[in-house]
Symmetry: C2
């Protein structure tokens, strides 16, 4: 019996912060860990910018609701839910993911969360635990499931390594170069073909 | 952050074997662990009866597809998926649950499985692990989630005990008598009221 663990951003939906930056026109929100390497520093910087623009959680959720999942993402997640147990494991925050989950018919999602005050101001962020993607695979293995995991980036690697089967989905070339041991799928049809070697 | 773990039969759908017995008219399939206490003996007995009647997995799935979830079960699971992470933890088999999961829009389900040969004959059953309901709660706790669990019967008790919050849902009186420490909900509205003390 398999559990399928998948990344969210870059696999089923576009990158959230980049699109929030685009839609709101706030250029500074485009910075990523490539620009500010320390994640905590980056997040505090982002939350400060939201404050500066007086953007509450409801505003951000409104923006995120206008982001659409990739073409065929809905059909693909529907297929995954039919053939296996399917979990999205993401480094995003549940409050940000919510409008996207709604569009994907609410698959099972494990991720981080935000601290929000009564006015809707985001006061802080809460990382659920260190290395949550690997831990998630371990948790399902403790339940005697085998795990197939896929994702597009460095933060997915520990999940792919812990899983019985790891797959890179549309990764940047540097990720492929650094982790040549993983098979690469460039679209859902290729991903499905790899999954079907194990599951169906 | 909470995970909601729920039993399946007796909570969202009727008891599967009893209804298969009713619909097929095979009286012998009505036996439960009250009649044959050893579970393995009971299951081998059931599989032999299916064989005697030449019932394949596709026949049984056809029968199970005619069983309907309880009134409001769909709406209630939809609400649970919106407000939290929602997992059904069942002692049924994934192949039996499948037609019911389809009707409930495929919530996340952890359960056991069957061995089926190419003709569709059920040759054996595979229990994923001992005490799977407790283990599932432990797995989510290892991911730094708190767990609210509910179920109707003795096989749910270890799950309710391991969870931060355990609730009995429409239990028989003997279960209430044996475990008076758990709050009891008799319908979805009462269950929702208890859940909302913690989650919403």
């Amino acid at each position: 019996m398999w559990v399928v663990c998948s990344d969210l951003e870059g696999v089923f939906v576009p990158e959230v912060w980049i699109n929030v930056a685009k839609i709101t026109g706030i250029e500074k929100l485009k910075l990523t860990t490539r620009d500010i390497q320390d994640y905590d520093e980056l997040m505090q910087y982002r939350l400060n910018i939201l404050d500066e623009h007086n953007l509450k959680i409801q505003d951000i959720q409104g923006v995120i609701a206008s982001i659409q999942p990739f073409d065929e993402a809905f059909e693909f997640t529907k297929w995954l839910r039919k053939i296996s147990r399917f979990v999205i494991v993401s480094d995003t925050f549940v409050e940000f993911a919510d409008p996207l989950m709604e569009q994907l018919d609410r698959p099972f999602l494990l991720c981080h969360s935000l601290e929000i005050d009564e006015s809707g101001r985001i006061t802080n962020y809460i990382l659920r635990q260190p290395d949550p993607k690997r831990k998630t695979v371990e948790a399902f293995q403790s339940l005697m499931y085998k795990v197939i995991a896929f994702g597009d980036s460095y933060n997915d690697i520990s999940m792919l390594q812990q899983a019985e089967v790891g797959i890179l989905y549309r990764p940047p070339q540097n990720v492929i170069d650094d982790y040549p041991e993983f098979p690469v799928a460039q679209n859902y049809a290729e991903l499905r073909a790899i999954l079907e070697q194990y599951i169906v």
